[in-house]
């Protein structure tokens, strides 16, 4: 395990029987691409015009994606939360999202920017930028001020997984796989407990977006565990 990786990286994970361990292939990368893209969209600000807010569709797609992921992932709590959530009411979506993640008297109740949650903020932010530069991921100027926003971090992993699914040679493939594991461990999984802690102290923890964050926390733990298991043998040899 790379230094600084979260302790959750080797948490027990139930593998999806459709994807035997070791078979880390283009399909598993596509499935994970999809999952990261969906979580990124679900946690994007509804004030951002570029994001689709057919939330029920997103949830349904994510539910469908759970069947093709290389590990078992239960989305029932998000699906339950979505049932009582009117995704035609953009005002409700905006109120709930911004009230939880964007505005507040002492900062947002549950910040989605890593530097507001973790303590070694500048070092971590620098490494995020180094990751982005290493893999030619450049942010649109209007989002550059928050490179550590959870939704952006998820989109970055999405792009890595997407590249993995189309990687032509073994070296590139390995690079992308290792980068995903390190990035998720060092820049998402490591501060998700802080997010969960803040969520647990907030009245909106059972709200739709609270359920999304809770599900994401489980997803990240499961995905990281799967990445470790699927990489361990081959990676050590490659190194």
């Amino acid at each position: 395990m790379a230094p600084g990786m979260a302790n959750t990286s080797h948490a027990p994970v139930v593998l999806n029987p459709l994807t035997p361990i070791g078979l880390r292939d283009a399909d598993s990368a596509r499935a994970r691409t999809l999952a990261y893209a969906l979580f990124s969209n679900l946690l994007a600000s509804p004030f951002d015009a570029k994001v689709s807010y057919a939330l029920h569709d997103l949830v349904q797609q994510l539910a469908d994606t759970t069947h093709v992921l290389p590990f078992t992932f239960d989305l029932s709590d998000v699906e339950d939360a979505a049932k009582a959530f009117d995704d035609a009411d953009m005002g409700l979506i905006r109120r709930q999202y911004s009230g939880l993640f964007e505005v507040g008297s002492d900062g947002p109740p549950v910040p989605l920017r890593a530097e507001l949650v973790r303590t070694n903020e500048s070092v971590a932010k620098e490494e995020i930028i180094r990751f982005y530069e290493h893999f030619n991921y450049a942010l649109n100027p209007s989002f550059q001020w928050a490179p550590d926003h959870l939704s952006i971090l998820l989109e970055f992993v999405q792009t890595l997984a997407h590249q993995e699914s189309a990687a032509a040679d073994a070296r590139a493939l390995l690079s992308l796989q290792l980068a995903q594991r390190d990035f998720v461990a060092r820049h998402i999984a490591d501060w998700m407990p802080g997010v969960m802690d803040r969520l647990s102290r907030n009245a909106q923890q059972s709200s739709f977006f609270g359920a999304v964050v809770t599900a994401l926390n489980r997803f990240i733990r499961a995905d990281l565990a799967w990445q470790n298991q699927s990489l361990d043998a081959s990676v050590e040899g490659a190194r």
Binding site: R30, L34, D64, R94, D106, E121, K125, A138, W145, S175
Partner: protein, 927 residues
Amino acid sequence: MNAIDRRAFLAAATASALVTNLKYAAAQDAGKPAQAYRRFEDLYRNKWTWDRVSRGTHGTNCAGTCAFNVFIKNGVVWREEQQAMYDGHADSDTPDYGPRGCQKGLRHAKYMYGKQRILYPMKRVGKRGEGKWERVTWDQAAREIADKFLDVSAESGPQAISWGSGTQMSVKVASYSALARFANISGVTVPEFYSGVGDLPTGVYMTVGQVYLGDVMASVYKSKCVLVWMANPAVTRIPDAHFFWEAKYNGTDVIAISPEFTPTAMHSSMWVNPKPGTDTALAMSMVHTILEDKTYNAPYIKEQTDMPFLVRKDTGRFLLGTDMSIVGKLAVDENVFYIWDQKTNKVVQAPGTGMAEKPMNRERRKYESIALGNLDPALEGTWKVDTLDGEIEVTTVFEILKKHAAEHSPEKTQSITGVHPSVVKNVARKFAAAKPGMIYSGYASCKWLNGDMLQRAMMMLLALTGSTGQEGGGIQFANAPKAGGMLAFAFADVGPATRIVSATTWDYDHGKMKDLNEQVYGKELAERCDAKYKESVREAYFPKYHEKGWRMGFFMGNNGANWRASGKKWREDAFEKLEMIVALAPDMGVTPFYADYVLPIAHHYERADIMFQSRTPYIQILDSAVPPLGEAVDDWDAIYIISKAISARAKERNIKSFFDDVDGRSVHRDPQRYHDLYTMDGRIRSVRDVIQFIINTTPGVPKMSFAEMAKKGIVRVDDSDIAAWNGDNSPYHNDVFRCVRDKRPYETLTGRQQYYVDHPWFLEDGEQLPSHRAPMRIPGYPMQFMMGHARHGIHSMWRDDHLLLQLQRGEPDIYINPKDAAARGVEDGDLVRVFSPLGEFFVNAHLSNGIQPNMLFMYHGWDPMMFKNRQNFGAVITTAGLIKPTSVAGDYGHLGYRVLAFAPNQTYKDFTCDFELAERRNQSAKT
């Protein structure tokens, strides 16, 4: 899902827009070869480089304007560094200005991304102060605010809407100009904060008719004796404190005068520690010593001051032209004053007097002279003169002063000040011997009820020693740029039609402050303050903008609910009663917390502006290092958005233009045109256009483009060759230097530095000359409460930064003498309850022998949000309603309301309170 279905699903889904259309990425450079990645250390193989280094500073009114380089990569500000490219020195033999900066500025690259940032427009969804918000769009916020603005303007007049500003804007000239322009166009009331925060040097104004007397910091080095009085530059002037210590090592006596042992006192040549609030007694005892020693500069005071002017002994009033049988009936000789010429042994009209009293005839003063020529005015003596009232006895101001000062001899004041007479005489003699002497005063002197008299006494010391108007001499407050550029922008196309009122009187009128006076100080004092103020308004000495009520408040560039003196009462009786509160701010604080709409404003590195600060001979540019975070905008743009919404809604609602009575003038206002007027019909498109306007129209500013200035960061202003603003071509006021150098009349009733004020209200209160008044004490509350500017914050900004808090106690603290603490069973680190008849707050006890007994000291600026119950010292300060009668006097030459020059200060320091143990926190303390 079988394998085929699964593959088809994945192929379709990953080819969908959801995956292919990235939300945040600008583009991925597919042509760029991917770098191999094995472990995270690979990321660090490439050298970290900057995309850009921009020039910047921190647009807060710390008076620093320190030139910084701001380092940017990928649209993020990562760090800053002192620019240090100052071009040397004020002149050939003073230290230079660079590098400049302090720990607050060097922390800003992190602070600007902190959790306190306001990033999006917010609308309150719970009760006021409940802290429940929802993000809204700028369009929604602006539209709803505009509708309320138009309703209030139509129903009560625009004066019922306030647009308050503060220290976050005062040195950002372009932003301030934007606010001034909109206020001028719309007629909203601007409660000015100079007097509102108790910073207006009214005693200086009473003396010389001007408040902007400060020079560059290198002037300290040119002084031979600096009294650092009610100031703590080691803490508050971090980039400039070196001038004091370099001066000391160059032979200058640097004498700190403060009740508490400050970090400045620690490094000074001498520390004098009077009891709190007794400084005027100390100053007058120094005056007495100089008079007794006859070490005063007689030629200077004969020419520059009113000390040789004749005063009627029967009435205590100046002998005027209207008293004299020969010329009294001639209107042209209004305001003629007299001296006794020792050469001819006759009463003679004082040169440069005889100008119309109302209004102050500034133009004429430019061409008059106070030069004595062949006259030799007597300073001492008594004579009989013929007047319309018959023969009367007259004497001089100087003669009256001598007797008055004798009442303040060092021996007599020792029991008041606690300072031994030998110390007083020693300091007075050092000061008298110094050529020139300087008094470096902080604004604390303005925050005492009778601080005006302390300033008059300070000015007297400087006059007696001939120090005012000399390089390295005089009183040092901050100077300010000549108003040309800013006013030209504010008034362009529309003419002056602004309502500016002292925040002190505004708060008095709307915060039920008379009730507070009565509760704390009794009915007699409350009635007297009220009667004098009301008379002043009735006689039109002061404006009456408050009469239509206060219904809507904009707070921009300030944290107004933090700094109000009796803040708790003001919040309850004025602020929270507003129908709509709009806070425009970069950071969360108590003002946004109670607002209905909170609009995000760009922070220091996210905006452009031009900063004037007279402490250095440089203009400092603020350039945008990165775009504003989130949906923040700069102040120009915020007003742009709001004015646009106002005009759009006015058109949609068919709201017509109206005539607005401003001080008796009928002003045509058209809400449908506000936005066009604000932008000068589209000619001004951004704050950069405003900056260019300011550069082009402000005297003393080198003429170049903003882009050129931004490349340099700092630009030296014209006429800054010596360590004083004495030149006519500099951007800063040089009126007093001109009076001394060119012998022009001062902008006072007498045309001189005026130490004797014979206005009836001054005579009534015995304030014709500066006198000691005992501090305001509340019976049963023994602790004098003192405050000062902080080392680790500028007002409320940066106070909540977690790193800076680690350099302190992590929470607000109050300094207490160990004896007072022991008497109440308090140990260091305990939580104490501080209380007065107004209320209470809770704070960490910081025991220190540097604090006198019966005194508490607290650095100011801690936001109420950082305290239990959201109450800071504003919960115990009882003095906000104390409007001193002489500070609302009028119909007397220069006395009468004058914007940013003469108005009553809000009093902050002149009260007592008490404290007790609230919570034992010190684990080692015996219980």
